[in-house]
């Protein structure tokens, strides 16, 4: 602060100076944490309200609703949901990790390009991928079966994209990039000596891979797998489209079925309970993800020569890219061109909905942008508190702020409809309620990004600023904030991206006449008008690609 902090003979320190020194200590050590703790606590409270409310509704639902559901439906839904979750998580792990190995540890031709191709499907919402693959593959009526029939002169059996296998197939295609990115980073940072040691002990390459390489990657793989699992629990569009009933789609049907909210609340309560377990495991696995690195002697693990396997590996990689990226984008582009060329279709595309195309594109942008801004703002006090003042309380608050991951869009919508309509009726049926839903669901991503950014800025920098006379707020604004800004922007980009793609909460919460790109795509495709849906879908994918490529450039494997 000033010279008074310097040690000097006690007799020379005036009482006034002593008081100032004491108050300075107070503001650094406790006053600002109290304020910060209050702010962070408020954020946590705001985020926890909907989930607590749904739990209370579920528990408070009359026994009859529970009984009716327990008889058959609940178990069947539980089975369906868990089965899909396991299948997709497993599939995404296998594809994600093997593609990561190919691009990071092998001499796969064109691996620089494949890195992008394997990550970019994240810009495509799974339900849009599902719409495209359904139009292509649907038994008898799909483009592929008909093409084959025309070519061969007789109907040919093609696998159906409907039901369990179809839903699993589509969801694997559009969630494996999570695993790919996390395991890619893990492969990249792996130490060469690890495998060398195993080889020196006489392990064969395959045994080395399974007993050394893979276990070392466990934290990364586990984190990816749990993210995928949470995503599948929340997924609505794809399973509804491909007619495989899980909790999310059953809740949606309940909401649009009988005039009774208690069954929906019961299902939501069970679903959130399930998701909380997985979230807990995920948070737990994060703690283990810190593995020791021998910084001084680190060198990258050697590239494996594929030899005769180069061509098969290339074909597999190309096949994955083809189905998850090229086919959806190609088909959407073709349909969009068809829509633009046909004047009548173009007219219906531009003037559909209450307000027209530019209006709902704009709605998508501003709601997602506002959600990103709010999520980042809310995440800062939480991250500051948990990173700079680690304690049991701050850890609890940070954990509570992760709860959004465990509340699927349908459940957020249900709880907001019930809650806001009673408590804040003026907010109900405004676009702001849609933004609130996005914030509730996506704040966890922002909190993680802000925490990561803060972790990289040493607290000593802030202390130095304080020592040179800045207040806590000044130190944050002038020193910390500029340094963490790129990290905050990354968090914002992630929230923006996921909000753009959000479907079920928007569908249920939007006021009359308020459409977003995702909603329009869904409404059109649900009515079977794929060509009309394509321009909006393509625009959605293209806009999503902007924040995504920004995020990817920050990833280790793209540097």
């Amino acid at each position: 602060m000033n010279r008074s902090d310097a040690p000097m003979p006690p007799a020379l320190v005036s009482p006034w100076q002593r008081l100032r020194a004491a108050s300075n200590r107070l503001t650094t050590r406790s006053a600002s944490p109290v304020l910060l703790a209050g702010l962070a606590g408020l954020v946590a409270l705001f985020l926890a309200v909907p989930v607590v409310y749904i739990f209370l509704r579920a528990v408070g639902a009359d026994a009859e609703a529970w009984q009716r559901l327990l008889q058959v439906r609940l178990w069947k839904l539980l089975g369906n949901t868990l089965l899909l979750m396991l299948a997709v998580t497993g599939g995404a792990l296998v594809i994600g990790a093997s593609m990561a190995w190919l691009t990071e540890r092998s001499d796969l031709p064109g691996r620089k390009y494949f890195r992008w191709m394997f990550a970019l499907p994240l810009a495509i919402p799974a339900y849009i991928g599902g719409i495209v693959h359904l139009a292509l593959l649907r038994p008898r009526g799909g483009m592929l079966p008909r093409l084959l029939e025309n070519l061969l002169g007789q109907p040919v059996y093609t696998p159906s994209p409907l039901g369990f296998w179809g839903a699993a197939f589509i969801l694997i295609l559009f969630t494996f990039p999570y695993v790919y990115l996390l395991s890619g980073a893990a492969f990249r940072s792996q130490h060469a000596s690890l495998e060398e040691a195993a080889r020196m002990l006489g392990y064969r390459p395959l045994r080395t891979f399974f007993s050394v390489t893979l276990p070392a990657m466990r934290p990364g793989l586990l984190a990816g797998a749990l993210l995928v699992a949470l995503d599948i629990l929340a997924e609505y569009g794809t399973v509804a489209l491909l007619r495989y009933e899980t909790f999310s789609s059953a809740i949606f049907v309940q909401l649009s079925g009988r005039y009774d909210r208690s069954a929906a609340a019961v299902l939501s309560g069970v679903l959130v309970g399930l998701a909380v377990i997985i979230l807990w495991a995920e948070l737990h696995s994060q703690g283990q993800a810190r593995f020791t690195q021998m910084e001084s002697s680190w060198r990258p693990a050697p590239i494996v020569r594929l030899g005769k396997w180069r061509i098969p590996a290339l074909l597999v990689a190309a096949g994955v890219t083809f189905t998850s990226l090229l086919v959806p984008v190609g088909v959407l582009t073709t349909w969009s061109i068809q829509a633009v060329l046909d004047p009548e279709t173009l007219r219906s595309v531009l003037h559909s909905g209450s307000m027209g195309f530019s209006n709902f594109a704009w709605n998508s942008l501003w709601t997602s942008f506002l959600a990103a801004l709010l999520a980042i703002t809310l995440s800062v006090p939480v991250a500051l508190f948990s990173v700079r003042h680690p304690s049991r309380v701050s850890r609890l608050i940070a954990r509570v702020c992760q709860v959004g991951y465990a509340i699927p869009g349908v459940v957020i919508a249900l709880s907001l409809v019930l809650l806001v309509n009673r408590a804040l009726p003026f907010l109900y049926a405004t676009p702001l309620i849609v933004v609130i839903a996005y914030v509730l669901r996506h704040v966890p991503q922002a909190v993680r990004a802000s925490e990561a950014a803060l972790n990289q800025v040493s607290a000593t920098l802030e202390e130095a600023a304080r020592v040179s006379g800045r207040t806590a707020v000044q130190a944050f604004v002038q020193v910390t904030f500029p340094l963490i800004l790129p990290g905050l922007l990354a968090g914002g980009a992630l929230v923006f991206l996921t909000s753009l793609k959000e479907l079920p909460a928007t569908l249920l919460l939007r006021p009359a006449g308020f459409d977003t790109l995702a909603v329009r795509v869904w409404v059109w495709a649900n009515d079977g008008f794929y060509v009309q849906a394509a321009p909006a879908a393509l625009l959605l994918v293209l806009i999503s690609a902007v924040p995504l490529s920004f995020l990817l450039r920050r990833e280790q494997i793209f540097k």
Partner: protein
């Protein structure tokens, strides 16, 4: 640095879109009707007499529709052409989804109007006090059974539940004549229908429960399930699938057959259950109701007037191939008049009371 590039890109994107965003809603592309109006005031046109014409209507009109958007958009566009000062905001969803929203919003009304695909929902909502009475002048011209005795709702059009088929896949001598033929194993895996969230399907089940009783209806539904009928979310999927030859038969409302025929598909239609002792043709009516607590009652009433006017009814008949309830409005060419069929007679008020039982049945059978 890449994030600067991105932020500036985003910023430009946002700016661009702000520039593109219309300050006011996009005006409907129905230039002829709009252009004919001499000025922007509400000049009564040759539309059937309405009560509210002398009142200038404007502001927002919020319509909740259980009918899907493509079927309701033409009449909204025509109304907007007549009343350019009214900003029409549409929220379309499944019948029961919208009905749930209306119940939820009772203390905080958002909608001005509710348009539905069948009468059970309006009847049941009307009993719960969701609507306010309004009787347009044209109500006297409609068949009395399609006007609520308390004027809480008014019918718009009729639709028949028919079986459409793909003419390439079904020989004339094999055609089913009854909806009960759909449970015949020879059609196993070859039928498409709309699922349990669809209003017309719900209404058909409710009607059958009343006419045949619970057991026989359940047996029929179970028969459909055993026959591996594919249930879609809506009828557009059904008609397209039958048109594409994906399915031989589809259980739909009659106009879906016409819409598919329009696209050049090889499809035919059967009006089922016409024989002696058979059920008769099941029909259902679309209806409209003004919501209690509506913010813009004048515009809502004007819209109801428009829907039952000759002009509005013509749009339903011409564009959707529906049966208009207003007498004297001609059917679209090719639509078979309902007078040539024996209709199943359903007591709507009674069936509406049983709507919970219908949902119970669908849930019990796990109808998709």
């Amino acid at each position: 640095m890449s994030f600067y590039r991105l932020t500036s890109l985003l910023f430009i994107l946002v700016l661009l879109l702000t520039a593109c965003t219309p300050a006011s809603p996009v005006t409907p592309e129905v230039p002829t009707a709009a252009a004919k109006l001499p000025d922007s005031t509400d000049v009564p046109t040759d539309v059937a007499a309405t009560e509210t014409v002398d009142q200038t209507i404007s502001g927002k009109l919020v319509i909740y529709s259980g009918r899907s958007e493509p079927l309701i958009q033409p009449v909204i566009d025509a109304f907007k052409a007549e009343h350019p000062e009214v900003e029409v905001l549409l929220k379309a969803g499944s019948n029961s989804e919208i009905a749930n929203a209306l119940i939820e919003e009772q203390a905080n009304t958002q909608a001005d109007l509710f348009i539905t695909t069948e009468l059970f929902t309006v009847q049941s909502l009307s009993q719960q006090g969701i609507f306010q009475p309004y009787r347009p002048a044209a109500a006297d011209l409609l068949p009395p059974e399609f006007v609520d005795p308390n004027n809480n709702w008014i019918g718009l059009t009729l639709r028949a539940r028919v079986i459409m088929y793909n003419t390439d896949l079904v020989a004339p001598e094999d055609l089913p004549t009854s909806i009960f033929d759909l449970t015949d194993p020879k059609w196993k895996g070859k039928i498409a229908a709309a699922g349990s969230t669809n209003g017309s399907m719900q209404a058909q089940i409710a009607a059958m429960r009343q006419l045949l009783g619970e057991e026989e209806t359940e047996a029929w539904l179970q028969g459909l399930l055993d026959n591996e009928v594919t249930f879609f979310g809506g009828h557009t999927d059904v008609r397209k699938a039958v048109g594409a030859g994906e399915f031989a038969l589809g259980l739909v409302n009659h106009y879906y057959y016409h819409l598919q025929l329009d696209e050049g598909s090889k499809v035919g239609v059967i009006y089922p259950d016409q024989g002696d002792g058979q059920l008769g043709l099941i029909t259902n009516a679309t209806a409209v109701a003004v919501v209690k607590g509506a913010q813009n009652v004048p515009a809502a009433q004007a819209f109801v007037d428009f829907l039952v006017s000759e002009q509005g009814q013509k749009i339903f008949a011409e564009q959707n191939y529906e049966y208009p309830l207003l007498p004297g409005v001609p059917l679209r060419e090719g639509v078979q008049p309902l007078e040539s069929f024996r209709l199943a007679e359903v007591n709507i008020a009674e069936a509406a009371l049983d709507s919970d039982a219908t949902f119970d049945l669908m849930e019990k059978l796990e109808l998709p």
